[in-house]
């Protein structure tokens, strides 16, 4: 599996081992930076907001006693497993009706409500320690406090693992910016790599190396957490 990585390293020294692709990319293609920061921005915002929404929702799904809970869960499960192309069309129509096409919000909002985070958090919360929640409820009646001090504190590992997965997925999204955005300056790095031949010089390989780095860093930091997160 790792040879792929080394080839990434190898292949950007092209044209007789020169730095030309790198200088072309770093100094000659200012739009690259815009798209890089766009990617980072989208990924960060989506991760934070999605966690803010998915954690309470999963908590509610686990603890609340309510009719139709199973149905909600099933809907989310099916939504999560749907191919992206299928969910994109409803998303597009929803965004179009609200006039959010070609804005940053148009990318962020549908991703926040993706089912992935909710389902994963729900699976983790199944083996949450209920006694602790009960104990905390005696002290406070605020759900928010219980959530922050008990639930989040207990599930740090899982939340980090989920966050990294969401980050990786958002960093890698291609279809949404391609279809929802028209303005080049709002698009992200995946689109840049897709259209790398439009730019001058061999910018493709250096761009994909830079594209790898943030996720790779996260992976190296959290690889054990990630493994635990999947196994649970």
């Amino acid at each position: 599996m790792l040879p792929i990585l080394s080839t990434v390293g190898m292949s950007f020294w092209q044209e007789k081992l020169s730095l030309k692709p790198w200088t072309d990319l770093l100094f000659d293609t200012p739009i690259f930076y815009r798209m890089f920061w766009n990617s980072v921005f989208y990924a960060f915002v989506i991760v934070i907001l999605e966690l803010c929404i998915a954690v309470p929702c999963a908590f509610g799904l686990v603890t609340a006693k309510m009719r139709g809970k199973k149905i909600i869960f099933m809907i989310y499960l099916i939504l999560m497993m749907m191919p992206l192309q299928v969910t994109l069309l409803p998303n597009y129509i929803g965004l179009r009706d609200m006039g959010l096409i070609n804005t940053r919000m148009g990318i962020i909002l549908p991703m926040i409500f993706s089912a992935f985070g909710i389902i994963i958090m729900h699976q983790y919360m199944m083996n949450l320690d209920e006694a602790q929640i009960e104990a905390a409820r005696l002290e406070t009646s605020s759900v928010l406090k219980v959530l922050i001090y008990v639930v989040v504190a207990q599930m740090k590992t899982c939340i980090i693992a989920t966050a990294v997965f969401i980050f990786a997925e958002c960093f890698n999204m291609l279809e949404q910016p391609m279809l929802f955005l028209k303005d080049e300056r709002l698009k992200n790095l995946t689109v840049f790599i897709m259209n790398a031949s439009d730019y001058e010089g061999k910018v493709l390989f250096p761009a994909s190396v830079i594209f790898l780095i943030p996720v790779l860093i996260l992976y190296l930091y959290f690889n054990e957490t990630l493994e635990k997160g999947i196994k649970l």
Binding site: T7, A64, L84, G94, L179, I193
Partner: protein
């Protein structure tokens, strides 16, 4: 006084329900309600006349040559790739768990392909397989990307299998192949089934990788899947065709998911 306060406050249960509200609202606004509009679009002939044309719409799409090619290729992907992927994952995880290797590091390295942005990898792939003219590189890319999660799920189950029953079987003179075929696999059947389902679902999602690999909206015929079909109609904003194929896709995927989930339930009992 006390009574009033009690009324003002919501019960704990209510609050828990309120927790779910933002997520559900979002899903409703962005997925479910628009989905009904998709259904509606698939039934009318165009946005201006709005007359009922369900049957002709569906017939037009289903008789389309490209739609058929796309559908065939999607099925092929599931039929060829998923078994290879799952068998490979089972073999590797058996070796990892029961072989005498240091498994920790290897296991962790299998997560890497899951998180690595595929855009960069597809680029390398294109460089490697530039002169191969069949679907094989995309299949390989798919297996490469998805084998990690399968292995991690399977090793976790295999490692939890009780070792004592093996020893009993070993005493009776069964070979390792036989033991695993007749004991390990049946015990971990639900998880194996889950990995199969997961792989099928992921095979619907291979579009991005294949798109980046081919770098075009119109790949060669063997690489043209349902997702391409939808994407191309998306770019043309042909709502009718798009809606029909979305509904069709939903039914197709929904069927597989439903069957899979029911099977898993059965196994667990």
């Amino acid at each position: 006084m006390n009574k009033k306060r009690g009324k003002m406050r919501l019960s704990w249960n209510r609050k828990c329900c309120i927790c779910m509200l933002p997520a559900i609202m979002g899903t409703l606004i962005f997925s479910l309600i628009p989905f009904f509009r998709v259904l509606y679009y698939s039934m009318i002939n165009n946005q201006f006349e709005k007359s009922f044309a369900l049957i002709s719409n569906y017939r037009r799409v289903l008789e389309n040559e490209y739609f058929r090619i796309a559908f065939k290729n999607s099925i092929m992907l599931i039929l060829i790739c998923v078994p290879i992927l799952v068998v490979l994952a089972i073999v590797i995880s058996l070796i990892l768990v029961f072989g005498k290797m240091k498994q920790k590091g290897i296991q962790i390295s299998f997560i890497l392909p899951m998180v690595i942005p595929t855009a960069s990898i597809a680029v390398i792939w294109r460089q490697f397989f530039s002169d191969i003219e069949n679907i094989f590189p995309v299949y390989l890319l798919f297996i490469w990307k998805n084998i990690g999660i399968c292995i991690i799920l399977l090793t976790a189950v295999f490692a939890s299998v009780d070792k004592e029953i093996f020893e009993a079987a070993y005493m009776e003179g069964a070979g390792p192949m036989k033991i695993h075929l007749h004991m390990t696999l049946p015990i971990s059947a639900p998880t194996i089934f889950f990995t199969v389902l997961l792989s099928i679902v992921n095979s619907f999602r291979i579009f991005k990788e294949s798109y980046l690999y081919y770098g075009t909206n119109y790949p060669p015929d063997y690489g043209y899947t349902l997702q391409y079909y939808m994407n191309n109609h998306f770019l043309k904003l042909n709502y009718q065709n798009l809606s029909v194929s979305a509904v069709f896709n939903t039914l197709f995927a929904g069927m597989i998911i439903a069957v899979g989930l029911i099977f898993i339930r059965r196994f667990q009992r």
